[in-house]
């Protein structure tokens, strides 16, 4: 199984430094795909002050590890790095990082998209937005469920 590193943390991360650390001194990696999820400044058409992410720590680690393992068995990956923040996050700040590395680009692209679709629907985090002095829970999107579901269709259709 290729190397995988998963971190759950409150602190911001440096996406460029993470990618540099993965690829340093390696000549087998031909493709690196980096996805960063960022806190937007608005939700449902109104500006937000902040986002707060609640999480279930032990399950988040276990579940993300399962998703990464699933990606590693399905695609040829040389390494995977996932960072997911929790706690209070301001607009413009990064929330999540997924980096996948492979010899050729198809596997890195597909695995990164798969991991994001699964993180959105199965990783135990819940977002609360602060808007105009009040907090409310963000509702899960059906489009996210649909995106995750397409990975279980017969291979020819999904890929």
């Amino acid at each position: 199984m290729s190397a995988a590193s998963i971190s759950l943390q409150q602190e911001p991360f440096d996406a460029a430094a993470e990618v540099a650390a993965l690829t340093r001194s390696r000549t087998d990696i031909g493709a690196v795909v980096t996805f960063t999820g960022i806190c937007r400044g608005e939700e449902n058409g109104a500006p937000i002050t902040a986002l707060t992410l609640e999480h279930y720590p032990a399950m988040a680690e276990a579940e993300i590890a399962r998703q990464v393992e699933a990606a590693q068995s399905r695609w040829s990956l040389l390494c995977v790095r996932v960072i997911h923040r929790f706690g209070r996050i301001a607009p413009g700040e990064d929330i999540v990082l997924v980096v996948t590395a492979s010899s050729h680009r198809h596997d890195a692209f597909a695995a990164a998209e798969f991991l994001m679709d699964y993180l959105k629907t199965r990783a135990p985090f819940w977002k609360q937005v602060e808007q105009a002095g009040a907090s409310s829970w963000v509702a899960a999107k059906e489009t996210d469920e649909a995106a995750a579901a397409r990975w279980t269709k017969p291979r020819a259709a999904a890929e």
Partner: protein, 85 residues
């Protein structure tokens, strides 16, 4: 057999606790049975579990469906659909 229950997000807010230990009475075999029983334990529980279709569960840190048996579970978590990523 005592089991630890965990609550997250608005379920936690409605119930007013993030965790508790309970001993489910005999006859509670599945997650669905447990939700139905919990809903009767007080107004706050009824409010939290008012729409069981929207409540998700995990047993020992893995997602399960409503028909999953709870026998042997050490930790059962209840939460709304996830919004991470």
């Amino acid at each position: 057999m005592r089991v630890k229950l965990l609550y997250f997000a608005w379920l936690r807010e409605r119930i007013g606790k993030n965790a508790e230990e309970i001993e489910p009475p005999p006859g509670i075999a599945t997650v669905g049975d447990l939700v139905a029983w919990l809903a009767k334990q007080g107004d706050e529980y009824a409010h939290a579990f008012a729409n069981p279709g929207v409540v998700r569960a995990a047993i020992d840190r893995a997602h399960v469906k409503a028909d999953a048996p709870i026998a042997g579970a050490r930790e059962i978590a209840f939460f709304p659909p996830m919004t991470g990523g």
